[in-house]
């Protein structure tokens, strides 16, 4: 199941790839959570 | 041991000389620190070790350690897995040979005298020092007793005198540094009846190990433990069984300990340099905002007063 890596290059290509996807998800998630957190605030 | 005393003394001198000449160390980014040139190492050939505990007895004697709980001639202690203690700087443990059952292997454990010691890197009072002979030595006269060296050591070697109320020390193998600088061999090496321990220049010990691999390829696993582990150590091991079977960790990596913390330490000047700038900036912005808010408020109050006044004055005009 888990891929086996023989070079640092291959390892990083995989982990950085996954991490970039999660970074995008984080940006979206943090935005949504901010709306949730401040949604009921009065201006 | 096959090395003559004169040759040995010559090495000691050479180690000193070449250190004084030494390559100039620089902090350039891709500079590789190779350690003291011509420093010594001990090669432990576990295929030759018979577990007689002579090294343990010699270690006890040369270090003036308290008598052991059970005599050194009692070989039954080999059955349990022991570690270094304040009373024993070296221990020999017996392991089953996964390749040849019925032929146990023995492994002598003591401080490995890293080329870049984790204990020295971790010590906040520089109580540990890698010397040009290869030994990592400890100075109890400055030790605070924080025990971070014990946390840091990947080989779990340093021990601590927990029972001492006023003068607790870290205790560990000195690679017989006091003996070596006087031209004597380390106690354990001198005592070994099987020549399972060889003492000499680290480079030569690596050569000897490789030579044995070449001559007896079936006898050895093709790896010198300590050549690169944790950046390399001054104790080197060759074995017929996988090192894991001897209770030695194969997952330590080859990064020397100081490299592990170098990044975090290098962030200190950045924080000191940039944080005040950032925080002062935030302070300036918030102060400016406050000032605007204040002027706004003052203006609002003033205009309200004006309005009030004009409203008040209007009826007067009318009347």
């Amino acid at each position: 199941m888990d891929p086996i890596f023989y070079t640092l290059q291959d390892f990083m290509t995989y982990t950085e790839g996954v991490t970039y996807l999660l970074v995008i998800a984080t940006l979206a998630g943090m935005t949504v959570f901010w709306w949730f957190l401040t949604g009921k605030d009065k201006d | 041991m096959s090395i003559s005393r004169r040759k040995f003394l010559g090495w000691v001198g050479a180690a000193g000389l070449s250190t004084t000449i030494g390559k100039s160390a620089s902090a350039a980014t891709n500079k590789h620190f190779a350690g003291y040139p011509d420093s010594f190492a001990i090669l432990h050939d576990t295929t030759l070790c018979v577990g007689c505990r002579s090294c343990e007895a010699a270690c006890n004697k040369v270090n003036d350690l308290p008598p052991p709980d059970r005599p050194f001639t009692d070989l039954s202690v080999l059955e349990t897995r022991r570690r270094t203690t304040t009373k024993a700087f070296t221990v020999v443990n017996k392991y089953d040979n996964p390749k040849k059952s019925g032929h146990p292997v023995f492994y002598k454990k003591q401080c490995n005298h890293c080329l870049e010691p984790a204990c020295a890197s971790a010590c906040f009072v520089r109580a540990f020092k890698k010397t040009k002979t290869g030994a990592v030595v400890y100075d109890p006269s400055v030790c605070v007793g924080c025990r971070y060296c014990m946390i840091a050591c990947p080989f779990e070697i340093p021990t601590y005198e927990y029972d001492q109320a006023l003068t607790p020390r870290i205790r560990k193998c000195t690679m017989c540094h006091p003996r070596v600088i006087e031209g004597q061999l380390p106690g354990c090496v001198e005592a070994c009846p099987m020549e399972a321990l060889s003492f000499g220049k680290r480079e030569d010990m690596i050569k000897i190990a490789r030579e044995r691999f070449r001559k007896y390829p079936d006898r050895y696993v093709n790896h010198i433990y300590g050549e690169n582990e944790m950046g390399g150590t001054s104790w080197l091991y060759v074995s017929g069984a996988p090192f894991k079977a001897l209770g030695m960790r194969e997952d330590l990596g080859i990064k020397p300990a100081p490299e592990l913390t170098a990044g975090a330490l290098s962030s200190v000047p950045i924080i000191v340099g940039l944080w005040p700038v950032l925080l002062a900036g935030i302070y300036a912005v918030s102060k400016r905002k406050e000032k605007f808010a204040q002027t706004d408020q003052e203006e609002a109050v003033a205009s309200a007063l004006d309005k009030d006044r004009s409203e008040q004055s209007q009826p007067e005009e009318e009347s």
Binding site: F33, K40 | S121, Y160, Y283
Partner: protein
């Protein structure tokens, strides 16, 4: 928050005094045992486990939980959130007491405490992360003392000195943040040197950042938690401003803590990703890791957010307890539970009751000092001579 009546308060305090007396008595006896017999006489420390709860709780948790000082003072003085001003003094006081007690605890833990100045004055081990921690903690303790001193000076009537120190507020606040950033993160960096001893899920090159961010969570949550306690026991010492601002502090700090926890959750997940540690999550340690991450990071973040949305002060206050426990759990995990995970159970550490006794003793000293100070000095109220002087 319901205020306790005077009679009730008296009985609570006499119960407190009774417990305090026992704890102090036992603590003094244990102190004697520790210094007469060495660490071995009172601890379960061993050659495999050189650090126990005096490091994991007293030092690591102590420093993190005392972060309220720099968090609150920077929010008010640097970020201009003036509406939290009444929270600054209690936060600075607990910060100062926290660090002072950390220093006290360290004297028990190290073998030769009288040599503690050695790394500064005899020989500097500059390559050691612990050196940086020591340097910063010593300096920050001084900064906190100066930041706290105006309250004592107002009490003692030292007007001129007090006004002089107050002029330094911004400078001291900036120093406090710089020093806190360094040593809060460095407490995590202490473990960078042990990749082979700390479980991969907790070992990360991000560990200094994790420690720093959780110190903010701990600081914010402790301010909420402490304010809850002091409203219960010291409401009579609070002035109108303090009472009026308190709810705003709880809501504002709860909101901040919620978002900081969300960011922390994100970087923890990203850390798993960049180390490609997913497969460890399936193991026993992985389950424990998820308990920490979901139960003590994600959950408090969400509960804080709900508390802020529905303006439930009670929920925010209870969540602050959960968040504080989460930070404590994290420090225990890094220093004790996931540390030495490769060793057989027989070689692992479990604290001796006397170690716990000393820790309780030290916390008790803190509580007594806190009570002594807030009942005498202008911490929860403004001194009448210095109203609106800031």
């Amino acid at each position: 928050m319901a205020h306790v009546t005077t009679g009730e308060r008296k009985s609570i305090f006499s119960l407190f005094n009774f417990i305090a007396l026992i704890v102090l008595g036992v603590g003094i006896y244990l102190t004697y045992l520790r210094f007469a017999g060495g660490l071995g006489a009172v601890t379960n420390l061993s050659d495999y486990n050189p650090w126990g709860i005096w490091i994991s709780f007293d030092l690591l948790c102590g420093v993190a939980l005392a972060a309220g000082g720099y968090v609150t003072s920077s929010a008010v003085y640097l970020f201009g959130m003036k509406k939290y001003h009444s929270a600054v003094r209690p936060a600075i006081l607990t910060g100062f007491l926290g660090y002072a007690l950390v220093f006290l605890a360290i004297n028990y833990d190290v073998g030769r405490p009288w040599r503690l100045p050695y790394p500064l004055v005899v020989q500097q081990g500059t390559t050691s992360v612990l050196f940086e921690v020591g340097l910063c903690v010593a300096t920050y303790l001084t900064v906190l003392f100066i930041e706290f001193s105006p309250a004592a000076m107002e009490w003692l009537g030292l007007k001129r000195a007090r006004n002089l120190v107050v002029k330094l507020t911004i400078l001291l606040t900036i120093f406090g943040v710089v020093l806190s950033t360094m040593h809060q993160s460095s407490l995590g960096a202490l473990f960078l040197i042990v990749p082979s001893k700390l479980h991969p899920l907790w070992y990360s090159s991000y560990i200094p950042i994790y420690f720093f961010v959780t110190s903010i969570v701990a600081g914010l949550s402790m301010v909420i938690f402490e304010s809850t306690l002091s409203h219960r026991f010291f409401a009579h010492k609070m002035d109108e401003t303090h009472l009026k601002e308190a709810n705003g502090v709880t809501l504002g700090f709860g909101k901040a803590a919620s978002y900081v926890l969300a960011g922390y959750f994100a970087i923890k997940v990203l850390g798993i990703s960049s180390g490609n540690l997913w497969h460890y999550l399936k193991t026993g340690y992985g389950t424990w890791y998820l308990v920490e991450l979901l139960g003590f990071v994600a959950l408090p973040s969400l509960l804080y957010a709900i508390g802020v949305r529905v303006k439930s002060l009670t929920l925010i206050k209870w969540t602050s307890v959960l968040a504080v426990l989460g930070v404590i759990l994290n420090r225990f995990n890094v220093c004790l539970i996931a540390f030495n995970w490769h060793l057989p159970a027989s070689e692992r550490y479990f604290p001796h009751w006397m170690e716990i006794g000393i820790s309780v003793f030290i916390v008790m000293i803190g509580l007594i000092l806190y009570r002594f100070i807030v009942t005498r000095m202008p911490i929860l109220y403004e001194h009448s001579d210095y109203k609106d002087a800031h």
